[in-house]
C-alpha cells in the first residue's frame, strides 16, 4: 500500500510537471504533427496507394506509436537529469523500494505521453485519416501499453548511462535508426538481409506493428498495414517490456549504489 502510494506520487509529479510546462507540450507535439500533417499526405499524393496500401494511414499509425514510445523512453531517461539537479537524492534516500521508484517513473512518463497521443489522433481525424470511434477506443489501451514498453526501454538505456550529456549523445544512435528499422514511415517488406536482421532487433518495430494490427482490425476491407499478426506482436511487446524493465532496474539500482 505504501509502495503503491509512492509509485502514484512519483507518477503524479511527472504529470504535474508536464501540465505546468506549456512550452514542452508544444515542443513535444511539433515534430509528430509535422510528420502526420505533411509527410503522410505528401507520400499519398506522390505514390498513390501501392498494393492498396493507404500511405497516409501508414505514416499516421507509425508516428503515433513512435511518438508515444519515444516520449516515455526519453521521460524515463530524465531520471538522469533529476540526479544532476539533485532531486533524485530525495527519492533515493527514502525508504521505498528502488523498483517502486522506477515503476513510478515509467507509469508517470507513460501517462505524460497520452496527451500527445490524443493530439495526434485528433489531427489524424481532422486530416481525414480513416478512423472509427470504436477503433480509437481500442487504440487507447494499446497506446498505454506501448508507452509502458517505451518507458521500460528507457530504463534499460538509463541503466547504462552516466550523465545527461551521454544520454543526448546516444540518442541519435538508438532512437533515430529505429524510425527506419521499425518502419515508422517506410515499408519493411523486402528489406535487404542486414536491414532485415536489424529491423527485427529494433524494439520499436513490435510497438508500431501492434498499433497497426489494432488500427487495421477496425478498418474492414482495407489492406492490412501490419507485417506480423497481432498475437505475435503482443507477446513480443509484453516479453520485451518485462525483460527491459526488470533488467534495466536491476542494473540501475546496482550502479546507483556502487559508484
Amino acid at each position: 500500500m505504501r509502495e503503491l502510494s509512492a509509485i502514484l506520487a512519483i507518477a503524479h509529479r511527472d504529470l504535474t510537471k508536464l501540465l505546468r510546462d506549456r512550452a514542452r507540450i508544444l515542443g513535444d507535439l511539433a515534430f509528430p504533427l509535422i510528420l502526420v500533417a505533411f509527410l503522410g499526405p505528401a507520400l499519398k499524393a506522390g505514390f498513390g496507394s501501392p498494393g492498396g496500401l493507404d500511405l497516409q494511414a501508414y505514416v499516421f499509425t507509425g508516428v503515433l506509436a513512435q511518438t508515444v514510445w519515444q516520449s516515455a523512453a526519453i521521460g524515463v531517461i530524465s531520471l538522469i537529469a533529476d540526479r544532476e539537479e539533485d532531486f533524485s537524492q530525495e527519492i533515493f534516500v527514502s525508504p521505498i523500494s528502488r523498483y517502486s521508484i522506477i515503476a513510478g517513473k515509467i507509469l508517470g512518463e507513460s501517462v505524460v505521453a497520452l496527451p500527445q497521443a490524443l493530439a495526434i489522433l485528433a489531427l489524424g481525424w481532422v486530416l481525414g485519416v480513416p478512423m472509427t470511434l470504436a477503433g480509437v477506443l481500442a487504440l487507447l489501451p494499446v497506446i498505454l501499453l506501448i508507452a509502458l514498453f517505451g518507458g521500460a526501454f528507457g530504463v534499460l538505456v538509463l541503466s547504462n548511462l552516466s550523465s545527461q550529456r551521454a544520454a543526448n549523445q546516444v540518442f541519435t544512435f538508438i532512437m533515430l535508426p529505429q524510425f527506419f528499422l521499425a518502419g515508422v514511415f517506410n515499408p519493411l517488406q523486402g528489406l535487404p538481409g542486414y536491414l532485415d536482421v536489424l529491423s527485427r532487433i529494433a524494439p520499436l518495430r513490435y510497438a508500431v506493428d501492434l498499433l497497426r494490427n489494432t488500427y487495421s482490425a477496425f478498418q474492414p476491407g482495407s489492406t492490412p498495414i501490419a507485417v506480423a499478426d497481432a498475437g505475435f506482436n503482443l507477446v513480443a511487446v509484453g516479453a520485451l517490456l518485462v525483460i527491459f524493465g526488470g533488467l534495466g532496474t536491476w542494473i540501475f539500482v546496482r550502479a546507483e549504489r556502487n559508484r
Binding site: 502510494s5 510546462d21 539533485d86 532531486f87 530525495e90 525508504p95
Partner: protein, 365 residues
C-alpha cells in the same frame, strides 16, 4: 513556544535494535570509487551518542559527503561497518532510511512544484499519508500539519507557490522542515549553509538549535566552516579520508593549541633575560623575541619573576581555527603517510614569532 509539527522526543527504539545503541557507530569505514586510485574514505571510525550534536569537519574533498552518502545508504561502502541506531546500513538499508533525515549539500527540492507539493511528496514517500491527487483530497491531519509548517516557516499562502520563487534561506528551511516530517532518529546536514548570507545562516542555526532542544534529534553536520563546529558536542576532523583529530571543541583546542607567552628585552639585556628564563626552567631559543610555552595562571607568575626590563610582552591564544588549519596543514604535509595523530606542539612552536597571534591579546611593554 513549541515547534508544532517538529518531532517530540524520539520514538521508543524499534524492536530488534539494542535499546542503548549509539545513534551512529562507524567502524573502519572505507570507500573507494570505481576507477579511483585512492580511497575517498580511508578507514574512519567514530561513534555518536543519542541526541548529540556531532560535526564532521574537513576541507573540500576530505570525504565528508562520501561518508554521509554511505551513512544514509545511497552509496555502498567498500569496507568497514556502520550502524544507525544499531541497524546495519547495508543489511538493513530500508530500516535505516526510515531512521534518517538528510539535508543535502545541493538543494533537493523540485523547483517546479510548490512548497506544499514538495512536502506532500516526502510525506507520501515515507508512508506518513496515502497518496491523493490534490491538496484538498489529502487527510485533514496532513493539512493541519502543513498549515503549522507554513506558520513555522513564517509563510502563509506562499507555501502554495512554486519553490522557484523562494529565497535561498527559505528553501533551506523548507528542506529542514521536510526532513523532520518523518521524525528521523538522526538528522544529517551536509554543508547546509553553503551559499547563504550571514543573517540567513544565523537564522538557520537558531532554528536548528530549537529543533535539537525540543525534539532531541541527533544531529550530524558536515562543514568546513569552523565557527559552525564550535557549538558541537563532538568534533571529528577528517582529511584525505582519515580522522586526523577528534574530541569536544574544548578538547581539540586544549590538545592542539598551546597558549604562548612572547617576551623580549633590549639587545644588551637579552643574555640576562635568557639566563633568568633558564632559571625558571624555560628554554629561550634564538635571538628574541622569545616564545615560551606558558599560559593561563602561570603567565603572571613568570612575568613577576623576571627582573630584566622587557620591551615586549605578548600572549598568544590560538583559536580553534588556528588549530584546524594546523591539523589540515599538517596532514597535507604528511601526504599519504600514516601517523598523522602525533604530538602537535612542535608545530605550534614552529610559527611562533608572534606574527600569527591575535592582536587583542598583545600588550606592548
Amino acid at each position: 513556544m513549541t515547534l508544532g509539527p517538529v518531532p517530540g522526543p524520539s520514538d521508543p527504539a524499534p524492536a530488534g535494535a539494542p535499546p542503548s545503541a549509539p545513534a551512529i557507530s562507524v567502524q573502519g569505514l572505507v570507500k573507494r570509487y570505481r576507477k579511483a586510485t585512492r580511497n575517498a574514505v580511508d578507514g574512519i571510525s567514530f561513534e555518536v551518542g543519542t541526541g548529540a550534536f556531532f560535526v564532521l569537519l574537513g576541507p573540500n574533498g576530505a570525504g565528508k559527503t562520501t561518508t554521509i552518502s554511505i551513512l544514509t545508504t545511497t552509496l555502498s561502502p567498500t569496507g568497514g561497518r556502520a550502524l544507525i541506531g544499531g541497524r546495519d546500513i547495508v543489511a538493513e538499508a530500508s530500516a535505516v532510511r526510515r531512521e534518517v533525515g538528510i539535508i543535502f549539500q545541493k538543494p533537493s527540492l523540485d523547483q517546479n512544484l510548490t512548497g506544499e507539493e514538495n512536502v506532500r511528496f516526502h510525506a507520501v514517500l515515507y508512508g506518513l499519508y496515502p497518496w491523493a491527487p490534490s491538496w484538498r483530497l489529502m487527510p485533514a491531519a496532513y493539512r493541519t500539519q502543513v498549515e503549522e509548517l507554513a506558520g513555522l516557516l513564517g509563510v502563509g499562502e506562499e507555501i502554495f507557490a512554486p519553490v522557484r520563487t523562494y529565497s535561498g534561506g527559505m528553501r533551506r528551511k523548507l528542506e529542514i522542515v521536510r526532513s523532520l516530517l518523518h521524525r528521523p532518529r538522526v538528522l544529517f546536514l551536509d554543508e547546509p549553509t553553503a551559499g547563504l548570507d550571514a543573517p540567513t545562516r544565523r537564522t538557520l542555526w537558531d532554528y536548528l538549535a530549537r529543533v535539537r532542544r525540543e525534539s532531541g534529534t541527533t544531529v550530524f553536520l558536515t562543514t568546513h566552516y569552523l565557527e559552525e563546529a564550535e557549538g558541537a558536542d563532538h568534533v571529528c576532523v577528517i582529511d584525505h579520508g582519515r580522522v586526523v583529530a577528534a574530541g569536544s571543541p574544548a578538547q581539540l583546542k586544549a590538545e592542539l593549541t598551546h597558549e604562548t607567552l612572547i617576551v623580549d628585552a633590549a639587545a644588551a639585556d637579552r643574555a640576562a633575560l635568557r639566563a633568568e628564563l633558564a632559571g625558571l626552567g624555560l628554554a629561550a631559543d634564538g635571538d628574541g623575541p622569545f616564545t615560551l610555552p606558558v599560559g593561563g595562571d602561570r603567565t603572571h607568575a613568570v612575568l613577576r619573576s623576571i627582573s630584566t626590563p622587557l620591551t615586549l610582552v605578548r600572549t598568544s591564544a590560538p583559536t580553534l581555527e588556528d588549530a584546524y588549519l594546523q591539523i589540515v596543514g599538517r596532514s597535507a604535509a604528511d601526504g599519504e603517510e600514516e601517523g598523522a595523530g602525533g604530538e602537535a606542539s612542535e608545530g605550534a612552536a614552529g610559527h611562533s614569532d608572534g606574527a600569527s597571534s591575535t592582536p587583542e591579546d598583545s600588550v606592548r611593554a
